[in-house]
Assembly symmetry: C2
Homo-oligomer: 566 residues x 2
């Protein structure tokens, strides 16, 4: 490819309405252009990157045994009524009336359409398991489309759906897809984590998200240095504490006149924050009063607390309720000597403390040297009810690290939700009609492009991982069409790289070197080779890796070695 | 690929609602499944074919220097208002309101979107010429979707748009695209013609359609045996006649009491139909009475007659008007001795006749031995005003043949219609703002699949041209998993073909031979190889080409030669 025959159109100005660095750089590199809110044209440059991602996704899905097909983007209302999602999907579902007033939607996902296909096609257990996928345009009518293709309304998605006669086989395929996803993101050259997500509202039995790590990511995730364990911060767990030490201090009532927070109390007493205990008063789902205890340096995790038996869907207690049960106003609360009986739920770390500090249930006072069993009855319940923090010991022996991530893939065990609702059955080995169980597996193909930039960029522009780069090598010609030897050397290098399977581009546009190099850096080409009269005279090419700060003068053999060509 | 790991689902029943053979066979082969009216899922089998067509289209567009990008399918009303097509496009434009009540359409074509992209990207003549293309989903809200993917509402189209500073350069690119299209349809292995179409309502300056020849085609086309000349029957021209012979007969008035048609008159007189002349009375655009003359074996071509100077948008004359001008009722009309002056427009073939037959303008009588100059004044105008017929001499010296075609591609010189309406200018060499001229070039990628079947099928099913076949070779295993030698021989053949770049599939489903062969024939695989215990014992494979009626027993070397592997 020669840039003089391509359409490259970069700009120096940073677009005013772009917030994310990937959005800014994609606009500046001319990879995308906005047609309307949340609708982007993929330019020739952008499309090259998108297609490289698409190809890797396709190759690995095929390798994993999934079978590609293509469903219509426009799907009839009747189908979405069968699962109740015509109403339940909400405002993101773009609803359409055709010229005959029949109602349709633009597919934001395709569980209904694939289950309709499956119930036409599959009638016997012999045809299962099967995993159908497509890489196709999707539309979600985001109420506030922004961040460029990171949250566009029209986007490219890989969606796969598997069908199984039993749950064990679904779990097998789910693991197979997780392995395929791991290969995909590894091949793309991205730093990522497969994150355990609380399946929550998805309606499935198990799910995992794949996140590209980037400081600008919307999601906080925790991962371990000891294995590939990773989870949304909300769902992450750390290793439990060691055994509780024996008591060493006496119980004491100390004055803390204005010290209401653990931080203030610890500072006043000159003790570590981790020795203090925070008492959080909540009203459990059954209306009972619960005191949840976490260490002063920890925070209550709402999802975990809600899962403790007898807590359920709780709410924070009001001041009157607190006064009624503990006889004290917030700031000096504690589990010792409540006015009315309260249930005490202690985080595992709190249950493992000795000689700790709690509020005295008396304004202006805390208690120090508190010990379970001696001063206080053992807690009514001990559970993991806190968020993990940076440095926690992980269950695999490693350390917990916190990071931010961009969700680019997810795998779900859907179960029988859709097959049941749509009356899809197959005959099993005994000739009995059974409802197949399903998995679904998505990858945001166009979003990956933006996420890769969030993870890989510098002041000069994008730094593509090689497998996603529009071209792997840029051959920059200084003063093309001046000295034929220069043009010939550049052309010959291009052909040699092409023959070796290296995707190279020749910049023969005749720009001044500074402008040319700025373009090549902005669009993130991993390897830059400069061909000049002066260099040729010395028998060298000027080589520079995108991440390097200096160029090197290399002869042809050295250069080819640097570019991975034998 | 092994069929046991693929999803193949054929049926014997011919679907009730399918009329075209391609629609029937695509359903029976399980290539497509209907989701709703005009909306089809492409099954794994169908998608393999679609992708092969897509790949050839892409490769040839790239080779021709066009640059791929991708425009959104959903496009804002404002853009379509700029060209007036929001209203003018008609009912096929699927209009959509989003959650904020903003209006959009699903792109049925993309002149507006590409011109919007171009006016953001292109500002100088230096960036021109450029030809952008995409291969992307389109939607046309057909009032009566039918014929499967032949006239689906959602379909896959390759659409290209070129921009030029002057008309000569547009013509150059137009010819370049025609050459690319010729390569595409040639590579696909289809019989096709590039047909001159009357550009008519398209609003451009020149256009050509590419038709796949098939008896079921909607369009009648004429082509020459002497060159690649082809045209819609309406637009086709034949070579002009030779010189007019000298008169040999006397003018005679003959009785034709009930003979009103040329056929009846020729039969009565025992002369060739081509010696009779039909007089068609019309009222020209300017209100004057015109007698159009064509040979008895020819038919008036309305478009050509309308283009004769002084005729214009004409209508057929009424009986009263005919009586007023010719003094006779229809059936015996002729150009000799009208009651009032009439303009005579003779087809070229009529002007070249001697001793011909016309109506006498007297009920029950015709005139024979009529000659121009002697009996009649020379015609007021001589022009090509007839439809071509099978066997006509073509302008290239060949013969005209008639056929039916399915339109699968078109190339248009659009001119400045869209660029003008959307205010798109670039600076020319002198720094002056000029409106670029445009070409547009479409290919119905999904329609090609159906058209290929219309052209290539038999009682047993589809007969794919090799480049479009889902697989080129099917290796059919008789009784798989019974004799390991059979499985090994099949697997080894599969691997050898794969290594040689042949796209082969192994049918290891374990069907009975009859059912297996029926499937392989139905889905149109060009080459079938049977691997059986008996064959291996004899050292042979049973080979059969899809179009052949007999199988051959070949040894491995012969087989590989048949399959094009050295």
């Amino acid at each position: 490819m020669r840039l003089s025959r391509f359409h490259l159109h970069t700009t120096k100005e940073t677009p005013a309405d772009a917030e994310l660095v990937s959005h800014k750089l994609m606009l500046r590199a001319g990879m995308i252009r906005k047609l309307a809110a949340g609708l982007y044209t993929w330019s020739p440059l952008g499309l090259r990157v998108l297609r490289k991602v698409e190809r890797i996704v396709r190759e690995e899905m095929d390798r994993a045994g999934a079978i590609e097909l293509q469903l219509p983007t426009i799907q009839p209302r009747e189908l979405w009524e069968e699962t109740g999602r015509w109403e339940k999907f909400g405002g993101q579902l773009l609803k359409i009336r055709d010229r005959k007033e029949a109602e349709y939607c633009f597919s934001p996902t395709a569980e209904e359409a694939i289950t309709d296909y499956a119930r036409q096609e599959l009638s016997s257990y012999k045809q299962l398991p099967v995993n159908f996928y497509q890489i196709h345009t999707k539309f979600r009518d985001e109420i506030r489309p922004r961040f460029g293709v990171m949250r566009a309304r029209e986007f490219l998605m890989k969606d796969a759906y598997s069908f199984h006669v039993n749950d064990a086989d679904l779990v097998r395929e789910y693991e197979n897809m997780k392995a395929a996803y791991t290969r995909i993101f590894t091949r793309l050259g991205l730093q990522f984590r497969a994150v355990q997500a609380d399946s929550g509202a998805i309606g499935g039995d198990a799910s995992q998200e794949f996140h590209v790590l980037a400081d600008s990511g919307e999601d906080a995730i925790a991962f371990s240095t000891g294995s590939d364990y990773a989870a949304n911060v909300e769902a992450a767990v750390a290793a439990g504490p060691g055994p509780r030490p024996a008591p060493a201090e006496e119980l004491r009532r100390v004055q803390t006149p204005t010290q209401k927070t653990c931080e203030e109390v610890a500072a006043l007493l000159g003790i570590p924050l981790s020795r203090t205990v925070k008492s959080v008063a909540v009203i459990a789902g059954d209306g009972s009063f619960v005191l949840a205890l976490v260490r002063g340096d920890h925070a209550v995790n709402e999802i975990k607390l809600g899962k403790v038996p007898g807590v359920g869907e709780y709410r924070m207690a009001g001041e009157a309720e607190i006064l009624e049960h503990l006889g004290c106003e917030p700031g000096f609360l504690g589990p010792l000597g409540p006015r009315k009986p309260v249930r005490v739920v202690a985080d595992r770390e709190v249950a493992a403390l000795a000689d700790f500090v709690i509020g005295a249930n008396e304004p202006g006072f805390h208690l120090t040297g508190v010990n379970w069993g001696r001063d206080l009855p053992e807690p009514d319940a001990v559970a993991d009810i806190r968020n993990v923090v940076e440095g926690d010991r992980a269950i695999d022996g490693g350390r917990i690290r916190l990071a931010r991530g961009i969700e680019v893939g997810h795998v779900f065990q859907l179960g029988r939700k859709y097959s049941q609702a749509m009356g899809f059955t197959v005959l099993d080995e005994n000739g009995k009609a059974v409802v197949p169980t399903m998995g679904c597996y998505g990858i945001g193909v166009s979003r990956i492009v933006a996420a890769a930039i969030e993870q890989n960029h510098d002041q000069a522009g994008i730094i593509w991982p090689e497998p996603m780069a529009p071209w792997t090598v840029a051959i920059c010609v200084i003063n093309p069409k001046k000295d034929p030897k220069v043009d010939e050397a550049a052309e010959s290098l291009l052909q040699e790289l092409k023959t070796a399977g290296v995707d190279a581009v020749l910049d023969d546009r005749g720009l001044r070197p500074g402008a040319m190099f700025a373009d090549i850096e902005l669009i993130g080409i991993p390897h830059r080779v400069v061909v000049s009269e002066r260099g040729l005279a010395a028998g060298t090419f000027e080589y520079r890796a995108r991440r390097a700060s200096e160029s090197e003068a290399l002869d042809r053999a050295q250069l080819l070695q640097h570019l991975g060509v034998a």
